[in-house]
């Protein structure tokens, strides 16, 4: 059938549909490719690079790379796992993450990725950046110390809410998420029901007064590791 594309991931043949990315096709076939900036329903961003895979021997972001017939994808190799681990480490030292008293703890995708990769402490030195908190809005706050620059809120506000409340400003290490106002979130047209508020993988963009609602032990990643709902034991075709 010309409507399906066959590719190989870590030696296992899988089928996908034209237009799918490697990440999507893998997921449909029960193969989890770790990701952070990718989010179902949002256009791929390709920025975190956690989803890096080798495609025919060359590195590509699985979340942006379309599948092609006969592609050879390496996802679960020592080299790729080491690279992903390094990137997750980088995200930790780049910001100021104090998981122990963070509202998102247990439901945080960055934290969950670290657990999945067996990271207990980063191997890179902390950069301790000076970043700000915007608590101007009565119902919502931004803690930029925890932001991983994944751009999910930027895309969700623009494409799902039709608002453009968020956008990146600055470049390089100075890059940060700004709001569509002179300075403060309260001066934007954001609403507490906006979809943009449900996409942040970490504890950077949160609703006020709902933190710590779920007790330890019943949080999203307390017992199952991130990606486990996607992963299936390899089935023979």
């Amino acid at each position: 059938m010309s409507d399906t594309i066959t590719l190989t991931i870590d030696g296992r043949k899988i089928q996908g549909e034209p237009g799918q990315t490697i990440l999507e096709a893998a997921e449909a076939a029960g193969v989890y490719i770790p990701r952070l900036c990718a989010f179902e329903g949002l256009v791929p961003h390709g920025s975190c690079r956690v989803c890096t895979v080798m495609v025919n021997g060359r590195p590509q972001a699985a979340c942006t790379q379309p599948i092609a017939e006969g592609m050879l994808v390496e996802n679960d190799t020592a080299q790729i796992l080491a690279i992903r681990r390094n990137i997750i480490d980088m995200l930790f030292v780049e910001g100021n993450h104090f998981c122990m008293f963070c509202e998102k703890s247990g439901n945080c995708e960055l934290q969950a990725l670290a657990y999945r990769f067996g990271i207990t402490a980063p191997k890179y030195p902390y950069l301790f950046p000076s970043r700000d908190v915007d608590a101007s809005h009565p119902d919502i706050f931004i803690d930029r110390n925890r932001c991983v620059l994944c751009g999910r809120c930027v895309r969700a506000s623009r494409d799902l809410d039709g608002k453009n409340v968020f956008e990146f400003v600055g470049r390089g290490p100075e890059k940060r998420v700004a709001v569509n106002a002179e300075a403060r979130l309260v001066d934007t047209d954001i609403d507490v029901t906006d979809k943009a508020l449900d996409v942040c993988p970490v504890g950077a963009l949160l609703k006020k007064r709902v933190g710590y609602a779920v007790p330890v032990g019943r949080r999203l990643y307390d017992h199952k590791r991130i990606g486990s709902d996607i992963e299936q034991p390899a089935t023979t075709k």
């Binding site: 942006t64 690279i83 980088m90 191997k123 968020f166 569509n180």
Partner: protein
């Protein structure tokens, strides 16, 4: 004041058709008129061109030549490239600071003069150099720097600082710059003579497909660094579906140590325009855009004039050279200070009025480039080669150079050599021959291809300059035995940290981490394990980064690790006390010692 801002912004936006795609022109114009694009201006622009305010801010905050805080009427941008530093740039910097009574990044109290650092401005052959607004001042010394400040404080007119004019078109009425071409070796391709129209006429006598065939036969590869076969790129673009097509000339020349495109723009712009026009014919485009780096704004009026002359001569415009139905024209898009905008998809973002973030690929520019239309992006020199290939035939071109790298290459050589400047050489010469040619003595190391290239030592001097051996987009920096190659590498890391767009994690975070560990080693606080740490970190940045910047930014570290490993090994030592050498226990305990009023029991001095 605010009503003047409001009416001026309105006028500027209207002059740009209130078109958000022309955001770069708009913000540049506002910056020029008001010394900044402040918060109020951003809101006004957003309203005029119907975008969100934060989108304007995202653009303004991206480019080094734009600012939200007011700058002086005159902005001095001293090049802080490694070559400038070697040629006495620090003394110039001190003199400027001292004379103005301000530090870099500051503006004088009267709001008249701002002082800044900027990466390579393409004047390494006449370093130290600086930009004063759009004017270039070269061969600076502490004395001449003080003199410049005296003069500026009296007349505030950077143009009046030009006392002697450079050679060739640098003395042209529309340039009037003190820049020198420093052409040291003229070769047959770029510096050979060709009358305007001679290449184009031959091209128009053929079919577009035949033109592409000739370019392919010549085996021309891109001169901007990556070396992609030009004919193949054109064929893809021609074959991509779409009604409009575009030709873009990459005149961003941001790679530290490169200044060969500056010389082409000054002396051979006709050849470049002709190559672009031929590309337009070959791929079926009717618009060409030159993306000119902000540092070369002093050439803009001259280039506009050259374009006007070509229009008059029937070499641009409608029915070019009488060829019915072939319409093509070229416009200039100014950049605003961002190395990343030399990367072709970032360049396209910038042309579309966006931050200079590279785009995700696929689609490639050949399929969906500017305005999502099929687009060819080539380097200045590549277009010049095309014009000569069409004029003299692909065989003539392919006979020069080496098998995989046909033709000649412009090198811009600077650093520790007696004859810095531009050399047109056939591909395939050895590094040793090149060093001889430029008068380099006691050479310790050569940085081939700029900051994103590789640092090579004596063991590599018999290698050849070509795509498959020692590749370079043109930049060659020579360092003699008195230099510290790790200091050079560290300087290049500063450059990448500053110039990363910040989009992807490995480049945004990895580069500062590489620099941290490299500097720790340089300070004598490294451990043997740090070498593996750097290698592993550097490889992650190289493999996982999203675009060519991050994919090459670890090279200063990785290439010195490979080629100058002995230097690292001399610097690192195992810790004697079992603690990390970089960790100063007494400094860490200083506060508690102070508070408790006694020393630690375990760690006493």
């Amino acid at each position: 004041m605010s009503s003047t801002l409001e009416s001026a912004v309105k006028e500027i936006c209207r002059a740009c058709g209130n078109d958000r795609m022309r955001m770069m022109d708009i913000v540049r114009a506002v910056q020029e008129k008001f010394g900044c694009v402040d918060s109020q201006a951003m809101s006004l622009i957003a309203k005029e061109v119907s975008v969100h305010r934060v989108e304007v801010e995202s653009v303004v905050s991206f480019y080094a030549f734009l600012s939200s805080q007011p700058k002086g009427k005159v902005v001095i941008r001293l090049c802080d490239d490694i070559i400038d530093e070697m040629k006495g740039g620090r003394k110039v910097a001190e003199a400027l600071k001292d004379k103005l009574g301000i530090d870099f990044g500051e503006t004088t109290a009267d709001g008249r003069i701002s002082l800044e650092h900027t990466p390579c401005i393409g004047m390494c052959d006449q370093a130290p150099a600086a930009l004063i607004n759009d004017e270039v001042v070269t061969y600076l010394s502490a004395d001449s720097a003080r003199d410049i400040i005296d003069k500026l404080q009296s007349h505030m007119d950077p143009k009046k600082l030009v006392s002697r004019l450079g050679d060739g078109n640098n003395a042209h009425d529309l340039v009037r710059s003190m820049v020198h071409n420093s052409i040291r070796k003229e070769g047959p391709v770029i510096f050979g003579t060709m009358a305007p129209g001679d290449g184009l006429r031959k091209a128009l006598a053929m079919s577009p497909q035949e033109v592409i065939r000739d370019v392919k036969t010549s085996r021309l590869r891109g001169r901007g660094g990556a070396g992609f076969p030009t004919g193949m790129k054109w064929e893809f673009t021609r074959g991509a579906p779409g009604d409009d097509r575009f030709v873009i000339c990459n005149a961003d020349e941001g790679e530290p140590g490169t200044f060969k495109d500056r010389v082409i723009l000054t002396e051979r712009s006709d050849l470049m325009f002709e190559g672009m026009t031929i590309a337009g014919y070959a791929i079926g485009a009717d618009t060409g855009i030159i993306y000119l780096r902000a540092e070369y704004a002093y050439l803009r009026a001259f280039l506009e004039h050259a374009l006007a002359e070509r229009r008059k001569a029937g070499l641009l415009g409608k029915n070019i050279l009488g060829k019915h139905g072939f319409d093509f024209d070229i416009r200039i898009q100014m950049g605003a200070g961002a190395y990343i905008c030399g990367e072709e998809t970032a360049l396209i973002s910038s042309c579309e009025g966006l931050r200079g973030d590279p785009k995700n690929r696929p689609p490639f520019p050949a399929q969906k480039g500017i305005y999502a239309k099929p687009t060819v992006v080539n380097n200045v020199e590549t277009f010049c080669c095309v014009a000569r290939i069409l004029e003299k035939g692909p065989g003539w071109f392919a006979e020069m150079g080496s098998e995989g790298s046909t033709g000649t290459k412009l090198l811009s050589i600077a650093g520790d050599c007696s004859k810095p400047g531009v050399y047109e050489v056939p591909f395939g010469i050895t590094l040793r021959e090149m060093l001889e040619m430029c008068g380099a003595k006691d050479t310790l190391a050569v940085q081939m291809g700029g900051a994103s290239g590789v640092m090579v030592g004596k063991a590599q001097f018999d290698q050849t300059i070509c795509y498959d051996d020692l590749a370079t987009g043109g930049s060659v920096m020579v360092f003699d035995q008195s230099r510290d190659v790790l200091a050079v590498a560290s300087k290049f890391m500063d450059f990448f940290i500053e110039e990363s767009c910040g989009y992807c994690t490995p480049c945004r975070v990895g580069n500062p981490l590489l620099k941290e560990r490299l500097d720790r080693i340089r300070a004598g606080k490294g451990e043997p394990g740090d070498l593996d740490y750097l290698q592993d970190l550097g490889e992650t940045v190289t493999i996982a980064s999203r675009c060519g910047l991050g994919q090459t930014s670890a090279r200063p570290v990785l290439s010195t690790l490979a080629n100058f490993r002995a230097i690292y090994e001399r610097l690192v030592k195992p810790a004697v006390d079992g603690l990390q050498p970089a960790f100063d226990i007494h400094a860490a305990l200083a506060d508690s010692t102070e508070i408790t009023g006694r020393e630690s029991v375990h760690f006493q001095r």
